[in-house]
């Protein structure tokens, strides 16, 4: 079993701060002003708030047990590590967007400025124990737990 991020749509207010904090967490400076105002390429969030009328929730990689993105990736950039995380090794990504095509959740995002895919790594690369989106959500609409 592994911990995953789960959304509680009944308390999500669609503020999109998870997107902001995710982008900052994965930026070079990890500073909100510098990341948004001065970093080139601009850091991309790895979480998307899906919103329609009064329903909203944050969606990121589900770290599937049998991830289609890993099975379909043509270069081996996508892999499932021993802890169960689906990890995207950007240095091996050529931006073919096959994972974008096959992911049933629409989780991998295109970073067009770098020609590579970006996706949630549960903040593994940044050394956080609790992902930034979960910790910074002002209404606790995201939880990080085993289910």
């Amino acid at each position: 079993m592994m911990k995953r991020v789960y959304a509680k749509e009944e308390v999500c207010i669609g503020c999109r701060l998870c997107e902001v904090y995710c982008a900052v967490e994965h930026s070079l400076s990890r500073d909100i002003i510098r990341a948004y105002k001065y970093e080139q390429p601009k850091p991309e969030p790895r979480v998307t708030v899906e919103e329609k009328e009064h329903i909203s929730f944050a969606l990121q990689c589900r770290h599937c047990d049998e991830p289609l993105c890993v099975e379909a990736c043509i270069t081996g950039a996508m892999m499932k590590d021993e802890s169960g995380r689906v990890i995207h090794r950007e240095e091996k990504c050529i931006g073919c967007w096959t994972c974008v095509l096959v992911c049933p959740y629409g989780a991998p995002r295109r970073d067009l400025s770098r020609g590579k895919v970006v996706k949630c790594d549960l903040c593994q690369s940044t050394g956080r124990e609790i992902p930034a989106c979960v910790e910074m959500c002002p209404n606790r609409a995201l939880v990080f737990e085993e289910r």
Binding site: L68, E71, I74, T75, G76, I94, C96, W97, L101, V102
Partner: protein, 358 residues
């Protein structure tokens, strides 16, 4: 006794990874007529263009075989299968007994009987060695003709253009990528190709490759001639079934399997481009020579070989590829005219979307 896999590309990896999830002990032997650790076939065009180096071609980490306790027999061809004694015979006369066998011999380029196809300067483009052969001579080409405007033909054209080689593409059908793209999408791609200075000729094909020993040109079906010093034949790939046929395994276009990826011969499975496996949409069998399908079929075969029953739910055609700066994503029957389909289309300045619903 071992699990034996003939072929060392993505289907083979899918099988190895699945087997090792459920059986850590039984030896696995992989046989390949290529000398390389598993590499990404779709990346050979990026290798030719110089976008990626050989080290980037590796599809799995360098400890893949060791970690999965796989014995490799590389650079040696499997020449026959004896399903009665359950043995595979190699070119070097070695015989390997199998507990379960997976045939994952992939596809081979389809080369029609064009006159002059054996001349020096005629290439195909499916393996790393094909890309190496082309790359070694790419500086010397003044003009090159690519036969076929499918996926492989257009990717090799793009790479050659990036290397500065003038290219003419000749395609028998009336548009590029005619198996997956409709007319409008085909037009978008064609204009992107032509913008890069590539000549695209449709509705014709090459009747003869001319020259003495070396290629000096091609003659088209309308009698026109094009001067060139090399030709890449990229009409398509066909399942590499000769080994299976000789062993009495049931083959139509590809090796016929059931939903567990088993052939008609006990203990023998097939996966990947060599296979005519279940088709999700038609409920019959079909060859799907695409990467994700090969991994998934390999995985299903691997589980079943190791005694865990899993079923392949059926292949779906799908491709994601960037051609001359235009990303193209297709899935399912992306190019059918069927009045029972409800089709939604949206064309904007630089994007074209089309969805069909039944």
């Amino acid at each position: 006794m071992s699990y034996v896999v003939i072929g060392n590309s993505v289907a083979s990896v899918g099988a190895i990874e699945a087997i090792r999830k459920v059986d850590k002990k039984t030896p696995i032997v992989v046989i390949s007529d290529e000398p390389y650790s598993v590499y990404s076939r779709p990346l050979i065009s990026e290798y030719l263009s110089g976008k990626v180096g050989e080290e980037m071609m590796n599809y799995r980490d360098s400890d893949f075989y060791e970690r999965n306790r796989v014995t490799t027999k590389f650079n040696v061809k499997a020449v026959s299968i004896n399903s009665r004694t359950k043995r595979v015979r190699l070119k070097n006369e070695e015989e390997i007994e199998y507990k379960k066998l997976l045939i994952a011999t992939g596809g081979i380029p389809f080369v029609p009987p064009i006159e002059g196809r054996d001349k020096d300067g005629v290439f195909t483009f499916t393996k790393l060695d094909d890309a190496k052969r082309l790359k070694a001579r790419v500086e010397s080409f003044n003009h090159l003709v690519v036969i076929g405007a499918g996926l492989i033909g257009l990717k090799v054209t793009e790479s050659l253009r990036q290397r500065g080689v003038p290219v003419t593409v000749v395609e028998l059908s009336n548009r590029v990528m005619s198996t997956v793209l409709d007319e409008e999408a085909g037009r978008i791609i064609r204009s992107a190709i032509e913008r890069e200075g590539v000549e695209v000729i449709t509705g014709l094909t090459v009747e003869e490759i001319t020259g003495k020993e070396k290629v000096t040109g091609v003659k088209l079906t309308n009698g026109n001639r094009i001067k060139c010093d090399a030709v890449v034949i990229a009409i398509g790939v066909i399942p590499n079934t000769s080994l299976a046929k000789d062993a009495g395994i049931r083959v139509n276009r590809g090796i016929i399997t059931d939903s567990t990826m088993k052939t008609n011969i006990p203990h023998v499975y097939a996966a990947g481009d060599v296979t005519e496996g279940p088709d999700y949409l038609s409920k019959g069998n079909r060859v799907f020579p695409i990467w994700p399908n090969a991994y998934i079929q390999g995985k299903i075969a691997g589980y079943n070989m190791a005694g865990v029953k899993r079923e392949f739910t059926g292949g779906i055609a799908m491709n994601s590829i960037e051609l001359f700066g235009v990303p193209v994503l297709t899935a399912g029957l992306s190019n059918v005219e069927d009045e029972n389909l409800e089709v939604l289309k949206k064309s904007e300045e630089s994007t074209y979307k089309k969805n069909g619903y039944t």
